[in-house]
Symmetry: C2
Subunit: 160 residues, 2 copies
Amino acid sequence: MTSRDGAGQRLYFEDLQVGQRFTGDRTCTVDAEQIKAFATEFDPQPFHLDAAAGRSTVFGGLVASGWHTAALTMRLILEGGPPLAGGSLGLGAELDWLKPVRPGDTLSVRGEVLAAVASRSRPDRGRVTMRTETCNQHGDVVQVCVSKLLVPRRPAPSGA
Amino acid sequence: MTSRDGAGQRLYFEDLQVGQRFTGDRTCTVDAEQIKAFATEFDPQPFHLDAAAGRSTVFGGLVASGWHTAALTMRLILEGGPPLAGGSLGLGAELDWLKPVRPGDTLSVRGEVLAAVASRSRPDRGRVTMRTETCNQHGDVVQVCVSKLLVPRRPAPSGA
């Protein structure tokens, strides 16, 4: 699937199969001011706040908070990823931060359905496991996020 | 350990043992405006943006983005959790969102060291696995975060 196939058509649990892939059709470029603003509010550490302070750390300069990368990834998925019915209802997520995100980096996402299991107790929903890679402009994967999502099943046609 | 024991003294890998617990000494209260502002920037879904729209969803009202909860948890750890040498250098994290965070909720954190493994290849560091629970004012755990952290080993005394 590509993310914009059937634009306007929402994807239900029945529409998702293991192995399906998507490529997000949005990118976002993160600048130093955005990195510092996020860090000031949520992750005030020297290497997220100040380029000079970051130079003496393992990062060698200013880098985005991993939580900032995760939040930007969420927006890239919502804006350009598969349009799930009911929205993106996350039960949990496993994150790996593989490379730093630096000022000027342009991020994009691509994903794959790893699992799709119908609920036994709740016939109106299923649980979908999605793996999303966040890449920079060099093609490096900066973050892998494996998320557990609640996805509604397609409602029976009325009158059925 | 409590988070403020030895204030000003940073904790190195050698100071962390499996089973050690901390209780953060900060809280933060999240209001509707903060929930909407975060969602507008990173997770623009109806149940994070508008109380009326949220009422018809599984959440029954306005709720914070899970990524917002994760970011607030990071700040609570930095401000009131164990003062790790080198800062909080996350390699990855596993999140479970157990309950929604709603406007007016007051969050706090408590944690436990699950694992501490010295690096074989890099004698200056180790990897620490920390489990952090984020609780609301009712004592409900709203999020569990198991994070993998890079923690520096204590430098040898100069002249040694």
